[in-house]
């Protein structure tokens, strides 16, 4: 057991670091990091372009689409090094993490050459249009319609929870082309120009007060058949490829962690004593420390497997369940520690981080697969337990009860 890079990995890490040092600012320990909302998109696009020109944008992609054909471990090394610098992240993750792989697998060569480099470069941003008001965890229950009309398809319906739809250029879309077929058989997959006539984007106001998700309405939107990905009726199969990539892309919850809770407890008063002396606080900190390090060490085990050229085990599937719940608990702890004053909005960064954690964590427990869906996946794929009984099995989609 060791935590060292192989000589090749160390050299690669060095190359990453040298380039980053020349092109970005290291994260500062004192200063609050981040970028103003207003120019975040421009800053993010500029950084993505810089990375693209140097080959770092999608380093695991083949050279013809702008990558350097890097191995999985090299991709992790790059990401570790990049995270030490104050650079904009998050805007491109859905496009590059989910839409990119689907285009890579199902688009024509001509389309790949047209769209993938522009996606990697950050010139065009992509979003994912799967969930609907009546199709969340049961995403295969979606009802937006596609009707074939010569060489085109006419799309009508509504999508929801679409991150970044208001600034995206393209989206991947799964819709129902035949409601007379069984639920999983009547779907077809497309990519769509988000500027097409008939697409209307409305932001959703979240419990945090912010709006990072949207509703997207489709009214007689025309998509050429050439933008179909996979065969007619293969929509579910293509969507599953995307969702598997989502589960790799959606990982650790960002925000207040055990370190913040520990340092806060040391400085906070608890009935005239330091809060860190409180037995209940100490038990909670021990639990969070074990969870946080359990995830960190799980990641190291995954990297070890990749480093040896092996396929990692299913361990990483626990990440989001553990980290989103921990985030919620830590936010709760921070607010409670202020007693009645925990309600108050403040300029204090630490208090803000607890309040943001508490307000944001409910969303993280749902986005990218709810806790419950992820537990179904663990029990079925890892433990081999049977699927739950479905009431809609074998039924034509149009006959499935929907409650409305």
């Amino acid at each position: 057991m060791d935590f060292n890079d192989t000589p090749e990995q160390a050299q690669f890490r060095n190359t990453c670091r040298e380039w980053l040092e020349k092109n970005a600012e290291p994260k500062s320990k004192k200063k609050r990091e981040g970028f103003a909302d207003i120019d975040f998109l421009d800053v993010a696009k500029e950084w993505q372009k810089k990375k693209y020109d140097a080959g770092w944008a999608m380093l695991h992609w083949p050279k013809e689409y702008g990558g350097i054909a890097a191995s999985p471990i090299e991709r992790i090394i790059w990401s570790e090094e990049e995270s030490k610098f104050n650079v904009p992240r998050g805007i491109f993750e859905i496009g590059l993490g989910m839409c990119g792989p689907v285009m890579m697998e199902y688009a024509t060569e001509e389309q790949k050459e047209r769209y993938l480099p522009a996606m990697a470069e950050g010139k065009e941003i992509w979003c994912q249009l799967f969930s609907e008001p009546s199709a969340g965890s049961d995403v295969a229950g979606l009802r937006s319609k596609a009707v074939q009309d010569g060489d085109n398809w006419i799309i009508n319906g509504q999508k929801v929870w679409t991150s970044g739809a208001h600034f995206c250029d393209f989206g991947i879309l799964v819709v129902r082309h035949d409601p007379n077929l069984e639920k999983h058989k009547g779907m077809t997959f497309f990519f769509v120009d988000m500027k097409s006539p008939g697409i209307e984007v409305k932001p959703i106001k979240q419990i945090t007060g912010g709006s990072s998700f949207n509703e997207v309405y489709f009214t007689d939107v025309v998509i050429p058949d050439s933008q179909r990905l996979g065969a007619i009726g293969d929509g579910w199969k293509v969507a599953i490829t995307t969702l598997m990539n989502e589960r790799l892309a959606v990982g650790d919850a960002n925000g207040a962690d055990v370190k913040e809770a520990f340092n806060w407890a040391k400085s906070q008063d608890d009935c005239g004593e330091s809060l860190i002396k409180n037995r209940a606080t100490r038990e909670s900190i021990a639990d969070w420390y074990c969870e946080a390090n359990g995830l960190k060490n799980t990641k190291l085990r995954t990297m070890s497997a990749l480093s040896k050229g092996e396929t990692p085990g299913p361990e990483a599937s626990i990440t989001k369940i553990v980290s989103a719940n921990k985030l919620q608990d830590i936010g709760n702890f921070g607010i409670d520690s202020l007693d009645m004053a925990g309600m108050l909005k403040t300029e204090d960064n630490e208090v803000q981080s607890f309040q943001n954690a508490w307000l944001g964590a409910p969303g993280l427990r749902i986005a990218g697969g709810t806790d419950e869906i992820l537990k179904n996946i663990i029990s079925e794929r890892v433990l081999g337990l049977p699927q739950d009984k479905r009431s809609d099995k074998g039924m034509p989609f149009k006959d499935i009860p929907s409650g409305n």
Binding site: M1, D2, F3, N4, D5, Q9, I73, K259, F262, N263, I276, R282, E283, I285, A286, D287, Y289, C290, E291, N293, G294, L295, K296, N297, T298, L300, R301, M303, S304, A305, S307, K308, E315, I318, I321, V322, E372, L374, K375, N376, I378, S379, E380, V382, L383, G384, L385, P386, Q387, D388, K389
Partner: protein
């Protein structure tokens, strides 16, 4: 980056698993429990023959001179099969104490006999119905004689020697005591898990040799626990995984309301929670194994993290294994209770969960981790 065991270590583990399976270790554990045999001497002798008691003992004393990582993989299998043997007492605690703290003469005398099985050791610390601390130890060692009473000492009957945490004229010390003296009186104590015997040991002016520093014995004891906690964690992971495997198999075989109970989300989510707990425990234990094998200064934090995660995992997995089995799980006939009881034995044996959480946070306060 390599947070994994080597191929040789994995081979050792699979051989250990085959051996314990062939020996029917789980049934042996049930027999020890039912007949109050305290330990399975036949299985213990076979383990000695395989050389497992000499794994960590340097070659100069006839041992294999291997590292702690080899012990970790064996511990996981001993835990999986509930082996009713004094391995943790004699190997993780007693042998390590001799290797770490005894002088050369004592090492020459004791270590070869630990390999041959002529000596079996245990650690005696608790004196009353609360956790031992540096200030509540009353057993006293003076002028090479020890007097006092220790309770809940695991495996003391098969043990030929004990290391006793005791007071000396200059502080706290570790005393080595030979049980063959008739001044040492050992009596069985009834417990809630008879698969490993526990005993009250009376030392009546018994011959004793102080091991290591005469005044800082409590620190030595704490260091021993930090090491042993890593190995206990692997036993706990083995037991947790066996409990999850048992529950998973039952959930596939058992039908209710016309279908496998493993198709109900109430059961699936319970088992997924067990998997999550085991994964956290395992990853933390791998890191602690690294810290132990490299004598990292991070060991106190790493071992407490592994210990807390593994104790939580085993407690969860063993109780929910019973729950998944319904009424059958509550019967003596099914093996569920063997894991449930062993999980408690292992979780209090070197200090309970709340005490290890406290150790973890104290270590964090002392370190500059954050």
């Amino acid at each position: 980056m390599n947070l994994d065991f080597s191929d040789d270590q994995k081979f050792l583990q699979s051989e250990a698993r085959k051996f314990l399976e062939k020996e029917g270790a789980i049934n042996r554990s049930r027999k020890v429990l039912e007949d109050k045999q305290n330990t399975d001497i036949e299985l213990w002798n076979k383990i000695v023959e395989l050389g497992w008691t000499g794994i960590r003992i340097p070659e100069a004393y006839g041992g294999l001179g291997l590292g702690h990582l080899e012990l970790c993989v064996l511990a996981e299998e001993l835990g999986r099969f509930l082996a009713p043997v004094p391995f943790s007492s004699s190997v993780y605690l007693f042998t390590e104490a001799i290797i770490k703290y005894a002088d050369e003469d004592v090492k020459k005398e004791i270590l070869p006999k630990l390999i041959s099985g002529d000596i079996v050791g245990t650690l005696a610390v608790t004196e009353d119905l609360f956790a031992p601390t540096n200030s509540n130890i009353n057993t006293f060692t003076d002028n090479k004689k020890i007097t006092g009473k220790k309770i809940a000492v695991p495996d003391a009957e098969i043990a030929t020697h004990s290391i006793v945490v005791s007071k000396s004229t200059s502080g706290t010390c570790l005393s080595l005591v030979d049980h063959s003296s008739d001044t040492v009186v050992i009596n069985h104590q009834d417990t809630i898990d008879e698969s490993r015997g526990h005993f009250v040991v009376d030392y009546n002016n018994s011959p004793a040799v102080i091991i290591g520093d005469e005044s800082h014995g409590w620190d030595s004891y704490e260091n021993l626990l930090n090491q042993a906690a890593v190995l206990f964690s692997f036993e706990q992971i083995g037991g947790s995984q066996a409990s999850l495997d048992m529950a998973t198999n039952y959930a596939k075989e058992r039908y209710a309301f016309g279908r496998q109970i493993g198709s109900f989300q109430a059961i699936k989510h319970k088992l997924a929670d067990m998997y999550v707990a085991i994964t956290l425990a395992k990853s933390n234990s791998y890191y602690a194994a690294w810290a132990l094998s490299t004598e990292s200064s991070d060991l106190p934090i790493a071992s407490a993290t592994a210990r807390v995660s593994s104790t939580k995992a085993y407690q969860l997995c063993s109780k929910e294994n019973i729950q998944t089995h319904g009424g059958n799980g509550f019967t003596w006939e099914y093996d569920c209770h063997l894991y449930y009881k062993r999980s408690k034995l292992l979780s209090v044996n070197i200090g309970s969960l709340p005490n290890w959480k406290e150790k973890l946070v104290s270590s964090l306060e002392k370190s500059n981790t954050y």
